[in-house]
């Protein structure tokens, strides 16, 4: 990987989920544990989005991403923070170099779309 690509994947301006939050994200709400989707969304992701930043979210290195956690992150941006699915897609890039994690990059925006429809 080039230096530039490495910088985008985990450098300044990017959130490296495994490093900055937990390699073992789990649960939807705070009551379900310290590494829940709600905690990640409101403590790490939303403050950057609220400041007007575009977020590069690198999911490399996580052991897995339970859909309850992942849905609360992306669906929750629509439900709790009134972002449109289009805005979620424009302002967040989900990155991974691990082909086994690619389903989560697709599911992120699907969850935002579905939250809008409900």
């Amino acid at each position: 990987m080039s230096e530039a690509a490495r910088s985008v994947m985990g450098g300044e301006g990017a959130i490296l989920l495994a490093r900055d939050f937990s390699p073992y994200p789990a649960g939807r709400y705070r009551k379900d544990g310290p590494y829940s989707g709600e905690a990640f969304r409101d403590d790490l992701l939303w403050p950057r989005l609220a400041d007007g930043h575009r977020v590069l979210l690198n999911i490399d290195g996580v052991a897995g991403l339970p859909s309850s956690f992942w849905e609360e992150v992306f669906g929750g941006l629509v439900r709790r923070h009134n972002l449109t699915p289009d805005a979620v897609r424009k302002r967040i890039s989900v990155l991974t170099t691990d082909k086994a994690l690619e389903p989560f990059a697709r599911l992120a925006f699907k969850f935002a779309e579905e939250a809008q429809q409900k």
């Binding site: 939807r28 309850s68 697709r106 599911l107």
Partner: protein, 163 residues
Amino acid sequence: MIDLPSAHGWLTLLGQLGVPALVAAGVTFLLNRRLERLRGRRELNTRVFDSARDNIRDLARLTSAYWSHDRSPADPEDETKILMIESDVRVDVAAVLEFALPEAKDEIESAIDDLIEAGTGGDYQSIDRKADIGRVRRIAGAAARLRGALLKARRNLIEKRVT
């Protein structure tokens, strides 16, 4: 008495028969090597497809059992098993997508996305999780669709090109 060829005769004979024999041996060697590689690749592909289908079945079994009852003390252990086998399925499917024909990709991706969402979505890992029979049905449907898509991809691969 048989007349043996002279030294010059032997050389002529070697030139006429030896060179074609050497070429034939060389071609046979290269063909065998190529066939061996193709056979090896086909066996590897078959193993990857079989592993994926087995792991999908196990994931469907574990997640269906998990969603068939309310929260229980066994949940943390079951959740760990589910995430481990889900990881295996994702690795297997990524490997299949590496060599599957492009037209198989969308169906496989859609089915694995549905299986992941059905298996670990909703109140998965929640401390007050309730049984969700609707989710059990979705798991069964998504798993069947993914296994079917893999089977179809495998068949198309064999029929459309030598692996």
